[in-house]
Amino acid sequence: MALNDLEAKASWLRQELFKMAMRQKKGHIPSSFSCTEILIALYYGGIAKITRGQPEDPNRDRVIVSKGHAAMSQYPILADYDFFPKEELERFTQKDGLLGMYADFRIPGIEGVSGSLGHGVGMGAGFAMAARQDNNFYNTFVIVGDGECYEGSIWESAMFAAHRKLDNLIVIVDRNELCIMGKTEELLELGDLENKWRSFGWHSCSVDGHSFDELMPALNLVGKTDKKPLAIIANTVKGKGVSFMEGRSEWHNRMPSDKQIIEARMELGIEL
């Protein structure tokens, strides 16, 4: 997909996510909007090898959104891949619906349960090791939040993956610099994440996480990292695309008023 088309696809995803969230007034909009371009690059930029209609393909690349509060960001994409009927998007979080607030492994295209932070890198290392052992060539992509990098388990697994030379494991850190209670650098400084991952033995780089011009070359480093797992620090804006949510931690789990919904729809290009 050309860069223009990827941008259009990112707009589409934000629109779908906003509509999904507004139907039930549930979901984490800003967290999903900060990793929108990352997911679009993976699924539509030719990076993750996933076949339409075949969620169980043993050779598929694995994509794990470890920051489970953004689980919903995968749902419109998975429906678009014909993994389940699009009507499910309308039943998000509803009693008889397939799609929950956090990801459930029974959802086609979801690799594991999410919701608790700090599990995705270790789980991903498990997929990566299994691929190695089975002489399989799939890659495992794990999207973690920057706030998630406070979890010690992330670093246990980071050390492990580097030691095992799992260059089929890629971590993309959604560096939006916000957690629920405020700015990460003010609350407890995460500091130079690029160097932190590098010091754990990873090939590490930083990009603008909303720019396909920067994301695509970084993701194309997969397999060219001298046997090191790859960590991409994607600098992002939480709430990207809705100006009154951008960079504001209080919107983590809040729902907009009727007036704000109209403002947001206009900014996102959703028909009124």
């Binding site: 492994f105 690799e111 594991g112 349960v113 919701g115 608790s116 700090g118 599990h119 995705g120 890198v121 270790g122 789980m123 991903g124 290392a125 498990g126 997929f127 990566a128 090791m129 299994a130 691929a131 052992q133 089975d134 495992t140 010690g152 388990s153 246990e156 697994s157 050390m159 492990f160």
Partner: protein, 317 residues
């Protein structure tokens, strides 16, 4: 002079079975968080691709296991009991139990097994916390025969299991009879009439000795090895309880939520109302240096206290 050979360590029995099976099944993976064993040295040497050292990183070990199990691997996790349970409890809940993955947790040194290591290495809470997990099966082999069978089941029929191994080798409690009682989940290893003593693991031998002493005092006690703490075949256990006048449970576990609690739940659910004495770790227990026997004495879960509890109950009849 005692020339009797000490029994094989439980860990070596179990690891040897897994090692033998792993030679013919490359999907069997054994992961350790830096706990060794004589049998494991051979495993690491001969099957290096199937042994993984996770680092002293139990959280990573469990997360890793989930990815491997989701990829079709038969995963065995191995660590000291305190660190394979409470230390990474949230990981087990979120990425193993939630997806009911076929991962076997093999814990060494349950209860007071690491006697001299004291507080951090004791696990008076492991039964209480692990049995609250969704879908887990919990097994405590009481001798070598039981350990072999339990290992074989874990190999042949991988499931979400927690296997509680004693740190030391245990004297035989079954004479070829474990296989027959495996499905039921408990062994009625000594018959009786008045009092039934229910325990598992290392305390089986003390319960058997207590039974002997009680016999000399005219109390006919039976001994039950409740080796499967979860799920319990409640109907069968209730049938057994109803044949006795009173019940003594004894364990190296907290009285809140441990094995004795599980027995009471079964009794209540089946309308069995019998006098009960539960022996176990009481809240506020003191920590001292000493070997396992002296700890049993201190915590009043030794042979003498089992006898005392049973006699106290027998006075009522």
């Amino acid at each position: 002079m005692n020339n009797k050979k000490p029994p094989l360590l439980m860990r070596d029995i179990v690891i040897n079975r897994i090692f033998e099976a792993a030679k013919n099944d490359k999907d069997i993976l054994f992961i350790s968080a830096d706990l060794g064993a004589a049998a494991l040295d051979d495993f690491r040497d001969k099957l290096p691709d199937q042994f993984i050292h996770a680092g002293i990183s139990e959280q990573n070990m469990v997360d890793l296991a989930s990815g491997l199990a989701l990829s079709g691997k038969k995963v065995f996790l191995y660590a000291m009991a305190p660190f394979l349970t409470a230390r990474c409890y949230e990981q087990i809940k979120c990425v193993i139990a939630s997806m009911n993955l076929p991962v076997t947790l093999i814990a060494v040194g349950v209860g007071l097994g690491y006697d001299h290591a004291t507080l951090t290495h004791f696990t008076p809470e492991d039964i209480a916390c692990m049995r609250a997990l969704n879908g887990i099966e919990i097994l405590t082999p009481g001798d070598a025969e039981a350990a072999k069978k339990i290992a074989d089941v874990a190999i042949m029929d991988p499931d979400f299991r927690y296997i509680r191994l004693d740190r030391q080798g245990l004297e035989p409690a079954y004479d070829g009879g474990f296989e027959a009682v495996y499905d039921r989940g408990f062994g009625h290893i000594a018959d009786g009439k008045n009092i039934v003593i229910i325990t598992c693991g290392v305390l089986l031998q003390k319960a058997l000795l207590a039974r002997e002493i009680l016999g000399e005092k005219g109390v006919n006690a039976g001994v039950v090895d409740l080796f499967r703490i979860k799920p319990i075949d409640g109907k069968s256990l209730a049938d057994l309880l109803s044949d006795y006048d009173a019940i003594v449970t004894v364990e190296e576990q907290s009285l809140e939520g441990g094995m004795g609690s599980a027995v009471l739940e079964v009794a209540a659910d089946h309308n069995i109302l019998k006098p009960v004495r539960r022996l176990g770790m009481r809240d506020g227990y003191a920590v001292i240096n000493g070997d396992r026997d002296s700890l049993h004495e201190l915590y009043e879960i030794d042979t003498l206290h089992i006898v005392g509890a049973a006699l106290g109950l027998a006075e009522r009849f």
